[in-house]
Each structure stands twice: as structure tokens, then as C-alpha cells.
Amino acid sequence: MMKNVVEVRDLVVVRGGREVLPGVSLDVSSGVTGLLGPSGCGKSTLMRSLVGAQRVRSGTVEVLGLPAGSAPLRTRVGYVTQAASVYDDLTVNENLGFFARVLGADRSAVDRAVDAVALGEHRHQVVGRLSGGQRNRVGLAVALLGEPDLLVLDEPTVGLDPVLRRDLWELFHGIAEAGAAVLVSSHVMDEAERCHRLLLMREGRIIADGPPEEIRSRTGAADVEEAFLRLVEGREDAA
């Protein structure tokens, strides 16, 4: 099933007088989609637009068939920013309990979310005393609470050790297999191979869109990083 979960058409976003997104169009379907590009290319702005946190100048953003940010979507879309966005002075359980009440999710959702990010042992610890990676996972657990149909994750694996990164990618795939669409951004190109589909982004534009192997073969590159460079430098093989 390749029904589009997200449809963006001619989206223009201006921040601080600069056109961060100059008219981007893209689709996101179910599965794990990677949004890859260097820092500052507009990934976060695009993600903020999907969750309705970004003021947009023009264009349309539809999520699950509704305008992005509309009220019915607020329980169906999970969002994690680069900041963990949790309360450092509360415990893991208290944080999740609070957000669950806001979402109207039941208490068992808290247990499921804690288990999903493997923080069971730390559930009664104050978040401020956890490591950076654990803190980020609390933030991720909050996004899982409502069992969203779309999960928007802005650089969730940055600064994590390889084992944890692998575990998180497994978690993303697990969520996707359960039927949700997962959009993950990263500026680390080697994470590309873990995605079903890639959106390569540069300076506010999508420069490639497709499964990793297709992008590699189209550009004749050995890996996605090289493919990105070839696309940027116009060395794409006319295959």
C-alpha cells in the first residue's frame, strides 16, 4: 500500500527574511522514509511544517488527508524535535504520565512507550539525571504515546552510540510494520541504507527521491553519500 500519508505542494517558508523552503513538493508514504541533507538545508523547517508548528507563506501541506496542524491531527501525529522537549525535573514516568493525560491516552500507553525505548529500569529517575541519549529516548517515548499514524522525528539518532542507533532503527521499522509512516531526518548519510525510501535535500529543495538502491544505481555511486555529491555536482550518470 503506497497511499500518501503526507502530500506537500509548492511549500514556501520564509524565516528571518530568507527563503528556507523555496517551493518544495514531496510525498511521504508508509514505511520508513529518511530525510537526508546537510545541516541548515531546511529539514527541520519542513518537519515543523508537517506538524503545523511552522508559519508558512504559501503552498499546501496535507497530512492523512487533512491540512497540517488541524485539530484532528493533534493525536495522530507524533513529533520529536532535536531538543528532547521533556521536563528535566520530573521522572520518566511523570513526564509520560503528563503527556498521556494531555493526549487522552490511557496509563498502559505509558508502559508500552517506556518499554519501546527500553527505559524500564530508569522509569522512576528524574530525567535531568539521565544521559543525553536516554533523555532523547524519553522524548521519543512521548511521541509514541498516542500510537500515531505519522511519526516525525528530527535527528533522533544524533550523538547516540552505534548499539543504541541500531536499536532505534529497529524500533522505527517495528513502528512502520505496525502500519504507521515514519519520517526520520538525519545529516549522517550512512543512515540512509536503513530507510525504505529517501528524500535527499539541499538548500530547501528535494534533489532525489526514491529507494536507496535506486538512487545509488541512478547516480552510479557506491553509497548514498557519493550519490549526494554527484547530484550536487551534476555528475549524475545519464542511465
Binding site: 508548528a53 511552522q54 508558512v56 501525529v77 524535535t81 522537549s85 521533556v86 520530573l90 503527556f99
Partner: protein, 245 residues
């Protein structure tokens, strides 16, 4: 807006306050210490100045403390990303504001009850009006402080800036509220300014109570304070944007 979410916000804020023992102690103990200091300072002076200044100060403490605490906490909520996250969830802007007002209103109730009990019960503060009404006025003042703090936090980008709003916005109100110079004896322009400052009415209400004025007059001042509070909350809600540039 939903009561479930409003109460969730209030309960969470109270848990955070409870967790922070030092802040909690300061919130409850400092006003009591200040009122004791005031009593001690005036003790040997003739003419019962403690009875004259005491009620006004009972209005001021909760206002100032709540203003500071709220502006810093909400700013932290904005800068840590939790506010943005909440605004992508089914949380009404009023849920957020009322949740805070409710939680800090409760803290203020305890704070004022302690300060009033100490002032009236131990230090012999003479209040002509009802002590119960004194508590109501103190809570109204605290909620006013909370509402203004919420509003102001929208205009600060760092906690350092938020603290600067205290001398900029609170101290002028303290000077002009009629505690140092009766408002009607001020130069015309200053009197007019003090007429539009909310703390003036908060202190008025307390002084009317202390002097045994008609309860109707006290309630009128409380109503003015409540109007300022609602206006600040309304403006505060307008500054909470789901979509930001």
C-alpha cells in the same frame, strides 16, 4: 479547552514545584520572614505603622513572587521545546494558561494563608475587616502576578531578560501603589498613571480591609484586579502561537 488537560497541566506544575524543595521553601518562608522583619522594624515606633503598612505588603509579596516564578518557568517551557510540543498536541492555549494560574494560585493560597496567619495571629496585625476576605485578596493578587508573568515571558528570550522585567514592570508599580505616598497626594500625572496600574488596586483592597472599609469597596478593588488578570491572560493566550515564524 478541556478540564482534563487544564488539570493535567496544573498537577504537573505542582509536582515540579514539590520536587524543587528550595523553591518551595522560599515560596512559603520568605513572605513570613519579610512580614516579621517589617513588624520588628516598626516595633518601637509610635502610631502603629505596622497596621498601616502590613496589609499593603501582604498584597505585594504574593504578587511579586508569583510574577517572578511564573515568568521564569514559562520561559523555560518556551525555550526547552516543551511548549512547542504541547501545542502540537490537543492542548488549548487556555488549558496551558489556566493550568498554570490554577497551580500557582494554589501555592499562593498556602503562601498567603501562612503570611496572614503569622501577621494577624502572632504579630498582632490589626485588621478591621474580615481576615477571610484578606486571604481572598491575597490570592487574587497572586493570580494577577501569575497572569502578568505569563504575559511577560512572551517578550523575553532568556531567563536573564525575564528577571529584568521585575525592576522594569514591578518596581514602578510598587512605588506608585500608594504605600509610600498616598495616591491622591501624588502629582496629577503620577496619580493618573497609578490609576491604570493593577497593583494599586491590589494594595487599595488590602488597605481598605485594614482600615475597616465597607466590604463592597474591597470587592470593587478585587474586581478591578480580576479584570486586569483576565486581560493579561487573554493577551498571554494571544502570544501563544501554534505556528511560529
Amino acid at each position: 479547552m478541556s478540564p482534563r488537560v487544564t488539570l493535567a497541566v496544573a498537577a504537573r506544575v505542582l509536582t515540579q514545584v514539590r520536587r524543587d524543595h528550595r523553591t518551595l521553601a522560599m515560596l512559603l518562608v520568605v513572605p513570613c520572614l519579610l512580614i516579621s522583619l517589617l513588624w520588628w522594624m516598626f516595633e518601637e515606633l509610635p502610631g502603629d505603622p505596622f497596621d498601616r503598612f502590613g496589609p499593603g505588603l501582604l498584597a505585594m509579596f504574593p504578587f511579586i513572587v508569583m510574577f517572578l516564578v511564573t515568568s521564569v518557568t514559562t520561559l523555560r517551557e518556551r525555550s526547552s521545546g516543551t511548549l512547542e510540543r504541547l501545542l502540537t498536541m490537543p492542548l488549548g492555549r487556555l488549558d496551558f494558561l489556566l493550568g498554570y494560574a490554577l497551580a500557582f494560585g494554589l501555592v499562593a493560597t498556602v503562601q498567603s494563608a501562612l503570611a496572614v496567619a503569622l501577621g494577624v495571629g502572632v504579630l498582632g496585625l490589626d485588621v478591621e475587616g474580615s481576615v477571610w476576605l484578606l486571604g481572598v485578596v491575597a490570592v487574587a493578587d497572586a493570580v494577577l502576578g501569575t497572569a502578568l508573568g505569563l504575559l511577560v515571558s512572551a517578550f523575553a528570550t532568556t531567563e536573564f531578560q525575564a528577571v529584568q522585567f521585575m525592576p522594569a514592570l514591578v518596581l514602578p508599580q510598587v512605588l506608585l501603589c500608594g504605600l509610600f505616598v498616598p495616591r491622591e497626594s501624588m502629582p496629577g500625572l503620577l496619580e493618573a498613571v497609578s490609576d491604570v496600574l493593577p497593583l494599586s488596586y491590589a494594595v487599595d483592597a488590602m488597605q481598605e480591609l485594614g482600615a475597616g472599609a465597607d466590604a463592597v469597596e474591597v470587592w470593587r478593588s478585587v474586581a478591578v484586579v480580576a479584570c486586569f488578570t483576565l486581560a493579561a491572560l487573554g493577551l498571554g493566550a494571544a502570544t501563544l502561537r501554534r505556528r511560529t515564524p
